[in-house]
């Protein structure tokens, strides 16, 4: 069923077996990294489900060009990647290469303790493509550098900017004779109209004007009053003010204004009363039952409801809209894609052949290798059309989404590679595509911060104080939104309490990590 090998994969396997011989010798050898075939072991378990498989068409394709076979040694049935990573480390028999998602901190911590090899010199000598990429993108190099100045892993570098957007029921707007809201005040009026004027036409006031699958997305609406909730693609993180100052959004004066207004909206029934508890079903439920009016969610999947609901709800028209302008006139989309993911792979200290390994990693940064990592096997999953890799019809029309097809053949997985946004663009829903253009052409999406790597001392301070502070911040947030306390009455106490809990110490540790890494 879900895990079954796709038909296309079976074809790919058959082809990969025969095509090895047919590639012209010259082209074949250009990327070879060893004279004789080499087998290295890799522990790579990711997204709690997938394990590196040397029989993936993509893995075989890498092998065909480089001459290196990476043999997967991670459990293929595991359902907890972090657990498996820990067990692999303690068991003591490290494989040659280790990879996976959300391992950046582990790579850096254990790298500094000696478990992983520093790659800097090897990249300079043996990896011209990676080196060139770093020279062009110095900030990316900084982002994966450990506090001791070494690089211990090659990360996954995503492409594209757009992540989430504001979506609104255009058919409701038209029905009520309203325009798309251009400012936050207009948005307020629109949501009130959704609440009062029965846009779904069932004679009941059951509309939920604004709803969210993740309550953090509701909090993110404070950006409509110029506040910030995070700097990275995860929630509640520090952000960078100007170009060098670390700050947290939840202590800003603008945040106070934002929360005050959101609390008012919540009280007036403009925001889903169950926003904190409804969870991941919110979209299915509120859109499917013709109740929800606007949200803030992923471009691609949210646009998909236009297809799935067009028969059940006549006239259903659910489109991305530009972020309404704040009172000071700024249109901001806080959520975008980071340029570096905390994923990737690293070479262990016991690696049999570090030079071949780094060359293998470098192959994935060549155009040839990058296309394989992004799109799969040429001639099977994609062809070159007008100089661009283009998916075959079979891939585009398969009942599985393209990304999960790619994962099951070993492409688009969190190894160290450069994503090509073109991969996603080809199968992006037309409505989402228009929205993405709207957001990127107008530069609504603010730059994402790639986070810092802390020294042991900084990390100790951060780990000691930050969890308590964040818990307190989130409790206060919820109290204010739900109306059990008033943000203006509590604000001074709130700030004093946060300082008392050690906010300045955390900020200092963070700032010092930031300065070392990016200045």
């Amino acid at each position: 069923m879900i895990n079954k090998i796709l038909p296309s994969t079976a074809i790919a396997l058959a082809l990969a077996a025969t095509s090895g011989a047919s590639v012209a010798a010259g082209d074949d050898d250009k990327y070879k990294v060893t004279d004789k075939p080499l087998e290295l072991s890799i522990h790579m378990h990711f997204r709690n489900k997938y394990a590196w498989d040397e029989n993936w068409p993509v893995a075989e394709e890498y092998e065909k060009y480089t001459g290196v076979r990476l043999k997967g040694v991670a459990s293929k049935i595991g359902t907890n990647s972090q657990e498996l990573f820990n067990l692999m480390l303690v068991s003591g028999n490290l494989p040659d290469i280790v990879g996976g998602n959300s391992l950046k901190d582990s790579f850096i911590q254990y790298g500094m303790e000696g478990a992983f090899l520093p790659l800097n010199d090897m990249i300079d000598t043996y990896a011209p493509n990676i080196k060139a990429y770093f020279e062009k993108n110095p900030d990316i190099k900084k982002a994966i550098t450990a506090p001791d100045g070494n690089i211990y892993h090659m990360a996954y570098f995503p492409d594209g900017q757009a992540a989430r957007a504001y979506y609104i029921r255009q058919d409701w707007l038209s029905k009520l004779g309203l325009e798309q809201p251009e400012t936050v005040d207009e948005l307020y009026e629109v949501l009130k109209a959704f609440r009062d004027r029965d846009p779904n036409g069932n004679g009941k006031q059951d509309e939920v004007p604004a709803f969210f699958r993740h309550w953090e997305e509701m909090i993110r609406m404070v950006t409509l009053w110029d506040a910030r909730t995070t700097g990275t693609d995860s929630y509640h993180q520090f952000y960078i003010e100007g170009h060098d100052k670390v700050k947290h959004g939840y202590v800003d004066e603008t945040y106070r204004t934002g929360i005050r207004n959101l609390a008012k909206w919540y009280k007036e029934g403009l925001i889903d009363k169950e926003v904190f508890t409804r969870g991941s079903k919110a979209r299915e439920y509120l859109l499917g039952n013709n109740l929800g009016g606007m949200t803030h969610d992923w471009f691609a999947s949210t646009a998909g409801y236009n297809d799935s609901l067009k028969e059940t709800i006549p006239g259903f028209d659910w489109i991305p809209m530009a972020p309404p302008a704040s009172p000071s006139g700024v249109r901001m989309e806080e959520n975008g894609r980071t340029t570096v993911k905390p994923d990737g792979w690293a070479l262990t200290y016991s690696n049999k052949d570090p030079i071949a390994s780094i060359k293998y990693m470098d192959f994935i940064f060549t155009e040839k290798g990058r296309n394989i990592a992004n799109f799969g096997v040429e001639g099977v999953h994609w062809n070159m059309v007008d100089g661009k890799p283009t998916y075959t019809q079979e891939v585009l029309t398969d009942s599985q989404p393209v990304n999960s097809q790619m994962w099951s053949i070993g492409a688009q997985i969190p190894i160290g590679f450069r994503q090509d946004y073109n991969y996603e663009w080809q199968w992006t829903n037309e409505i989402a595509a228009k929205g993405i253009e709207l957001y990127t052409d107008n530069n609504y999406i603010i730059e994402q911060f790639n986070g810092v790597s802390m020294t042991v001392a900084e990390r100790l301070v951060y780990d000691k104080y930050w969890p308590g502070i964040l818990t307190y911040m989130l409790e206060a947030q919820q109290r204010w939104i739900l109306g059990s306390a008033d943000v203006d009455e509590e604000w001074d106490n709130y700030i004093a309490r946060i300082k008392k809990l050690g906010y300045d110490k955390v900020l200092k540790a963070y700032q010092s990590a930031y300065d070392r890494q990016y200045k």
Binding site: M1, K76, T79, L87, S301
Partner: protein, 293 residues
Amino acid sequence: MSDFNLYSRGDKIFGYANMFLIALFVLSTLYPFIYIAAASISSGFAVSSGQVVFFPKDITFAAYDKVLSDVVFWKSYANTFFYTIFGTLVSLAIIIPGSYALSRPQLIGRRYFNFFIAFTMWFNAGMIPFFLNLRDLDLLDSRFGILIAFACTAFNIILLRNFFEAIPKSFEEAARMDGAGDFSLLWKVFIPLSKPAIVTVALFCIVARWNGYFWAMILLREEDKIPLQVYLKRIIIEANMDDEFASTLLSSSYSFETIVAAIIVVSIIPVLLVYPYLQKHFNKGIMMGGVKE
């Protein structure tokens, strides 16, 4: 109503209140079954949009089609049977003689053995040392490892030991007079006398094996060996990988949720069939094991 009414009004009210409370209790345990069964034969959209509460909606068997046509499902189902049946047999083969020996006063060092076994009920080495231990014993990724490593729990041994100890001395004396050794004493006297306790222990083993998930996930590496619970967990993880792209599933007649529901339904059928037969022993066994003469 007859004149010879046995029950006063208070008794009756008490009876009705009892019935009412029991009915509530039954409902609260029965409802999850009903919901899962209803969800498994509803359409994916009806389930995720919250339209299925009690009765199925847009009835479809697409989820069952999907599940039952998956080879891995059947393999893992067969594996669960294998682990349950043989795991229970291995457990009993260790626990029964072990408990017997511990219950005999003539065993040298009996107090110490008892202490060390009971000790493991409160203290254990934790996950990583246990894992390393199994690795050094070469029990990773092996069916035998799963069977042997989790065959024996202190609680079961003590339960059965107490039961054996409660069997009157005279049985043993009589049997010994007739020339029985330890082996025939155990086989011909103690086991027949302790059936309820042994069934109870067997039931504990069966349930533990049937539900066994975590260590199977950690120790096994190949799909051929996984039990049903690991398979189920993988499906659930897939269902939660949502975010960016999940919506494409909306249009099909099944969803991850209905598939999960279908797997649960299929996987609890054997338990539902076996449980009623074992349960009557279960109650008796627990009580008898607890009392010592």
